[in-house]
Amino acid sequence: MNQEPPLKEFYFNKFEHRKPYTPLPISEFRNMMFQFLAIVALAIGALYIWWRWKYSLNLNCLWFAIPLVVAETLSFFSTIFLYVNYWSPKDRPIEEPVRFLSEIEDLRGRPDRPVRIDIHIATYNEDVELVRYTIRDSKKIRYPFDDVPVNIFVLDDGRRDGRDPSKQNMKKVAEEEGVGYFCRENNEGFKAGNLRNGLEHTQGDLFVILDADARPFDTILTATTGYFRSKKLAWVQTPQWFYDTSEPIYLKDWLTKKAGWLGRSAGWCIELIFGKVYIEEDIFGNHPEGFYDGLLRRRNFHNAAFCCGAGSIHRREAVMELAIKDYAKGVRKELKKKLEAIGHTSFTEKEILEYKRKTYLDNQLIPFKFHASEDIYTSMMLHAQGWESYEHPYVECKMLSPQDIDTWVKQRSRYAAGSLDIAFKDNPLFMKGLTLGQRMCYFSSIYSYFAPIWLIIFIFSPILFYFTLELPVKAYSFDFLKYYIPFQIFNAIAILLVNWGRTSDRSDQYYIASFWLMTLSIISVVIGKKVQFHVTPKEKSKASYLPHILPHVIIISLIVIGNIYNIFLIFQGQHPSISGYITNTFWSLFTVYNLSVMIRAAWWEEKDYDIKNPLQYNGLADFKSRLARKLKWSSIKSH
């Protein structure tokens, strides 16, 4: 018996013991309460917006009042979209895995046979030993029927087949593991092109898409293939669970390390009031539960759960239908354009045939749209053609998350730019074939990336107040509070009911803290910059993090300076609006809380605290070394 090559040690090995979250049980009562509160919140919110436009604008300061009320209105629309997304869960029962083709397709005279399943592992430049983990776990996938072939293929877009000795040899690893290997001579279409290449050479009726780091659980097929008995179901998405998110740190230990006995005492006091407090848990906000179990799962109600790439299971027939229809449409459109341009009469039949030939050859069959956000774009097209999708609520694979802010920003920027690009090219609001619910769900995904338009105004409002002492509203009166506070309370409780027992703090923080990267994405799409497909690195980036957090640092600094200035004016008895100061200070504290997460994430490094001996910690040395690493200041390094 051949011995398997040993697995390389990686940083994530220490997280192997972690278990995924379990989906939230569905409660009809809770959902009814959510729907009721959502309607009440929307009604009060609409009243608030109406009151804001009609009665509250400070007419002496319209330059400030109008942008703020526009921002609030746009933000209110995003709440409406969010409620539509959350409206109701709709889980399907897990069915027995399928065995024969006739269970998932109408045979229409064809002989029946066992269904064929392929596992496609897409890779580009990741460590081949990392891919080996994914292959090994794929090989462990169980399926109850021996006559159902489950084939594993590595789709290598890095041409690491041994031709270039300077590169790792992916093909060799695939051969050692006894799985298939395909590579192509170009990177056309990036991941979508890579998947197409895989589909061209394989024959699975169902196929699983995995990324290089997406390690499947052995249940991924038994839990999901049964859904395909529904013959209009095109794909099943399973949650992408990141098992390497940052470890929480016990605050008392951290304070002890930072400030010795003084810190320990402070920690003890905090614990006395709030109980045990942990910090730095999932510092990059990668924990996916809120998105997959909250948002995407509830999109099943509208048949609008989109594909997120890795961890999805697809019906080949669905994507091939999309490819064929798109091809036919492309050919017809181009041919019409060409023939109109040249004029039919002036050319011979032979020449027209030549044009046809060229058009047929120029167009391609593309099962997954060639786009930076190929997964969401393809999903939208398939939904528009009447196909169904399903978000399976249970985690069936584990993945690696960005381990530094530079990687994180690159990944999120791609998501943002890709989604915004779809808005400009193929806006779901106007796409033929989508239902109203689907239109709203897809548009809400895109709309959320326009958030900087209102976020920037919200973020800068307190700063503008601090330095101009002008109020955008007539007064922060009872009228303001009687609409605003109930809306916020009802909204908060409604969201609480959806996320029952699950915190969304971190994702809320990042929603606001991402304003800068989303702004840059909007600009790049508006000026027509081509959206690039960057593979998310699986190792830490060495790039400087300063550009990503500089706007955050400036804003927080302005808030601090503004506060000092306003406190000075209050003590001098020269401040025109104390209530305005108090309101804006609450708002600015909320802003600081949200923006600071990204700064902390930029400074975050995995720590190996000596828990037994926390007082030995040298805070100054740690600060210097971190500064040197982050900003690459060689002068500090030398010390």
Partner: protein, 85 residues
């Protein structure tokens, strides 16, 4: 194990047995006499074949197409793209 794109792709189709069709005077005739249903993957391979032939200067004609298959191809709006007889 590496496979590159080749003309053999077409032969993988379940609907078209290996080496189906006949080449005559730079026209490849694909006979669908026995075929009463094409999967989308089969159709994709047919398009692939048409394209491959075209790139080699060969025309593809699909013959003996049953009405139900023709309906299928019409539904996908391929009737003006693939030559039928």
């Amino acid at each position: 194990m590496k496979i590159t794109r080749s003309k053999d792709l077409f032969s993988k189709s379940e609907a078209f047995p290996e080496h189906s069709g006949r080449l005559y005077e730079r026209v490849h005739y694909v006979d669908l006499k026995e075929v009463c249903f094409l999967t989308n993957s089969d159709i994709a391979r047919l398009i692939d074949k048409v394209k491959y032939n075209l790139s080699s200067g060969i025309e593809t004609r699909v013959i003996n197409v049953k009405p139900e298959v023709m309906d299928q191809l019409k539904q996908l709006e391929l009737d003006s793209i693939i030559n039928f007889e």
